[in-house]
Symmetry: C2
Subunit: 125 residues, 2 copies
């Protein structure tokens, strides 16, 4: 079993999610032990939703699943890096490719990403 | 002032650090409001060390500072992405380029990164 330090964040570890194709950072999510094991077993990124307090197979609503290509662990064993194939191209629930679609420009945030879908069309059906 | 949600993690936000040159994910660290403001003001990545409970200008011991090229904020405003120029080439205190130098291979971790320096030569002087 892969040794991970879940104690620093009450049973969770942060997970950096990167597009395996070009290295773009898509999102940050969280896993508990079981979500990590499910991810390894199924090859589909599975997180623990802090806001909904439940497992969350990424893409179960939108169809934009993440097929796991590689899993790395950091030096302190308290952070996971997933390299994924992002099906559908958009990881963010707001319809952007990456959740990091806003760049700091002075005192303001500038939207730099292109919206690939309208959330209303995906989640409010 | 850039609006960030520090409440979810007791005054801190996680910060994904990526090499601006080729997109490699180097490390995950944490900032409080003041560390974020110092980073913006100085252009040098400045974190809050959870283990030492103090500000930490990355590279102050090793010389491997991180010059900030871009700062992005995620959709929930609870995670920061820094794109940096990693001086010295190695971000990890264990001497590897990235803290994510171990890849999951079945039930084991396989070291995939190349060690660029020996920590004893840098920190134990």
């Amino acid at each position: 079993m892969i040794d991970l330090d879940f104690d620093k964040q009450g049973g969770l570890v942060p997970v950096v999610v990167q597009d395996a194709a070009d290295g773009a950072v898509l999102m940050l999510a969280y896993m508990n032990r079981e979500a990590f094991d499910k991810t390894v077993a199924t090859g589909l990124a599975t997180y623990w939703s802090r806001s909904r307090s439940k497992f969350w197979v990424k893409g179960e609503s939108s169809g934009n699943v993440q097929r796991v290509r590689d899993i790395s662990i950091d030096c302190d064993s308290d952070t996971v890096l997933l390299q994924v194939e992002q099906v559908g191209g958009a990881a963010c629930h707001e319809g952007y490719r990456s959740c990091f679609f806003r760049k700091v420009a002075g005192d303001e945030l500038q939207t730099v990403g292109e919206r690939l879908f309208d959330p209303k069309d995906v989640y409010d059906k």
